[in-house]
Subunit: 193 residues, 2 copies
DNA sequence: ACCTGAACACCGTTCAAGT
DNA sequence: ACCTGAACACCGTTCAAGT
C-alpha cells in the first residue's frame, strides 16, 4: 500500500504540532508512517518539499472571496483568516515564511486581496504592494506570537520605566495587539483613496 | 589560546553569509576556527546560543536615539536602521525572527521606538503596540526580501490578469515596496494623535 | 517498474580521559 | 580547573540490490 499524500501531510503536521518545527525530521516522519527511511524522498522529494506542501495546505480557504461588503471589512477578514491559518499549526508562521510557494491556495490568497483593493478603486500596483505589506505584518506578528519567549525576570523593578512598559507590551494579549496593528495599517490604506 | 567571543561570532557570520542559515552547523564553525568539535558547547553553549548572540549583535546601533526632528521622521529612521541591520547578514531576518533576545542592543531598539512615540504624546501602551507592529512589518518584509524565490515561469500569458500583477509586485524593487508599506503604517500611526 | 534498506557523509552534544 | 577528542545517538539522502 503506497503512502498517500494526505496521510504523509497529516502525519507531518501531527509531528510538528507535537514537537515543534525544529524537531521535525524526515526520519521521524518515516517512522510515524511505518515506512523505511528513504521512502519520503522516493514519493515526495526532500524535507523542504514536505514543508512547502504543508505551507500550501495551510493556505486552504484563506483566499476564498470574503462576503460582499465594504472593501476594508473584506480586507480585514482576509487578514484574520491568514492569521488563523498560520496559528493552525505550531510554528506555522515560521514554516510559512521559510517557503516561497507558488501553488493555487497561496496564490489565491494574494490574488483575492488584490481583487478587493482593485474593485475598491486602487491601481493594480498599489493594490499588490498593499497586500504584500499587510501579509508581512501578519506573518511577522504570528511568528512573534508563536515563538516561545524566555521567562522574563519576574522582578523588573531595577529596570527603567520604558523597559517595564516594553515588557508589558510583549506580554499583552496577542489577539488585541494584532487588532491594533492591523487597525494602523488599515487607517493608512484608507488614506490611499 | 582560548577562542574569543568576537572571533567565534565573526566566523559564524562569515559562514552564514557564504552558505546560508540552513547550511550553518556548529561543526563547520568549529572547523573554521580550527577547534575541536565540542569546543563550541564548552565556550558558548549550544548552536542556538550562537544564533542568539548573532541576533543581538545585528541590533548594535539600531536603538541609538535618532537625530532630533519630527517624531515620524525619527521613527522612519529607526525602521530603516532595523531593515539595514537585518539585511546585513544573509538570512538575517529569518535568524532574528527565530530568536527572542532580551539583551541590551535588542531591548534598546524597542525602547527607543517607544520613547520617540511617548515624547510625541502617545500613551505608553499604544507606543509599545505601535513599535511592535512596525517591527513585525519590517521583519516580515525582510524575511520575504531575503528569501530565495523560485524562478517564476517566464511565460505568464496563460495566467489571469491579477496573477500577472501579483508576479509583478513580487519582482518589484524591495526598497520601494518597503517604503510604500512603511508609509501606510506611518499614515495609520499619525491618525493616533 | 517500483520499492527498500543498507550505507554514506554528515549532524549536535556529552563526558571520560587527559593536562 | 580547564580542555579535548572519541563516542553516542542521531540526521538527510542516495542508490545498489531486490521484487
Amino acid at each position: 500500500m503506497p503512502l498517500r499524500r494526505p496521510d504523509i501531510l497529516r502525519a507531518a503536521r501531527e509531528l510538528i504540532d507535537a514537537e515543534g518545527l525544529d524537531e521535525f525530521t524526515a526520519r521521524k516522519l518515516a517512522t510515524a508512517l511505518k515506512a523505511p527511511a528513504g521512502e519520503l524522498q522516493w514519493y515526495f522529494g526532500d524535507r523542504q518539499a514536505v514543508l512547502e506542501a504543508i505551507a500550501e495546505d495551510l493556505m486552504a480557504g484563506v483566499g476564498e472571496p470574503p462576503p460582499a461588503g465594504p472593501w476594508d471589512q473584506r480586507l480585514i477578514t482576509l487578514a484574520h483568516r491568514l492569521r488563523r491559518a498560520l496559528l493552525g499549526l505550531r510554528d506555522g508562521a515560521r514554516l510559512f515564511s521559510s517557503t516561497f510557494v507558488t501553488e493555487p491556495n497561496t496564490l489565491l490568497a494574494g490574488r483575492t486581496g488584490m481583487q478587493i483593493l482593485i474593485e475598491a478603486g486602487l491601481p493594480p500596483d498599489q493594490a499588490g504592494w498593499t497586500v504584500m505589506a499587510m501579509t508581512h505584518f501578519v506573518v511577522g506578528h504570528v511568528i512573534e506570537e508563536q515563538s516561545p519567549r524566555p521567562e522574563l525576570p519576574a522582578d523588573l523593578s531595577g529596570e527603567d520605566e520604558l523597559i517595564r512598559e516594553l515588557a508589558a507590551t510583549v506580554t499583552a494579549d496577542p489577539a488585541r495587539r494584532f487588532e491594533f496593528g492591523l487597525g494602523l495599517l488599515l487607517d493608512g490604506i484608507r488614506r490611499l483613496f
